[in-house]
Amino acid sequence: MNRRIFIASSLASLGLTACGPVKEGLTNGPFRGALLSAENLNHAVFGTHGTAREYADADVDRDFRVNGLDTPSDSRYAGLAKAQFAEYRLAVDGLVDRPQQFTLAQLRAAGDRTQITRHDCVEGWSAIGKWRGTPLARVLAMAQPKANARYCVFHCFDVDQSGTPYYESLDLHQAAHPQTLLALDLNDKPLDADHGAPVRLRVPTQLGYKSAKWVSRIELVAGYENIGSGSGGYWEDQGYEWYAGI
């Protein structure tokens, strides 16, 4: 029995990984198109309705795991961090009527919400954190998005080893979710550099990679095809789903 499974799966793996034309067909051909259609189906069926479960103080992971990239190596970021982000400004621009430059104090003053929610990583692990910050909707409202704005794109301070900048995006429906925060504090302390200081996105209704760290600018756009490799985010450009609610 085991041998049958072994042979069948070896053939499958071999066929799919070693055989050039087959692999090409599976990764770029109509099969790829079909695979991507499942993402739209998931988005349509599961969407971003409802609110993520909120927890009690006792459930919080005080030592919240750091994942992915840690403190940005960017020199602009290092300079800002050295001065405790006194010179930091969050830009909100693009398709808006009133472009904004928020200081951290102005961001805090724009609104305040605390949520204790679970962070589900695409890798499979989960952690619970206490996040405090400003609902993204408030910040966007102050900039007054134009009628043709459909997405907000979060540009971040970080670049990976090959120099590719980190970015993420949400559509305005997801951005308006009451739990979608621009987080400033984690577990009752200002965010540290590893967790995304001074401002990170927090989207508890989607997988963790949507919650971009080190946000420097929010750009409102009609489409994200011309940003990065065009898939709507750093991880999306590496093949992950844009809709990360599943």
């Binding site: 990764t27 991507l36 499942a38 997988l207």
Partner: protein, 269 residues
Amino acid sequence: MSGERVYRHGVAERVTHWLWALAMLVLVMSGLQIFNAAPYLDASDKSNPQRRVLAIDAEMRNGVPVGTTRVFGLTFNTTHLLGYTNDGMNGESPRAFPAWLTLPGPQDLADGRRWHLFFAWALFVALVVYLISAAMRGTLRELVLRPSDLPKLLPMQAYYFRLRREPPPHGTYNPLQKAAYTVVLFVFFPLIIVTGLALSPGVDAAMPWLTPLLGGRQFARAWHFVLMALLVGYFATHMVLVLSTGLWNNMVSMITGWYRLKDHDGVGP
């Protein structure tokens, strides 16, 4: 009656049977790809090593890499099989399941997820079409366990163990087959779909009662894995029985629909 050919499986049933067989294979293999990114299971809502029920890991012992599998606190050396395994590049690396078991490549979480989520829909649609078609043709009632089958379960098992010369009289499917098909179709499949949905943050927000019902997010992941193992166990048993009860006749019937009756085979429910 023995030797007579009967039309047993309708077109929709045969097509969907093979479709969900394919979907299951891809789902298991892409699921192991996803599992490899966090190769442990916790009976908890958040990740919690204190409540870890399974961990597949690699460590160095006396300068030699060793694959370990820890189940309910018991540790086994599983080098080459689990933990420290084939990496698909002519060598071995710390990875829970070997490269030849993970789709679509040795290490590809992004595409593994895409394949998994696509074939989950394929399995769901195939199952629904199969159930509707079988119910409409009346074949579903032939394979569902009924109260009147319960007293026949032990005698049938006794026949399998060669403790009895004759099986109890039965219809199209014997009582043990009915029990297996009923459990797989109406318990395992719905549960593996529900536990899969519970892993999605979007579904958690839309149906906040679901994940706590399963013991939490990580617990739901553990149930999803256990159900996968049960379905693989069912598949193995299914293969043994297909092979031992006449591979040719079984395959022909699942391809053309026509089945040649054997001794003891009845027709009807």
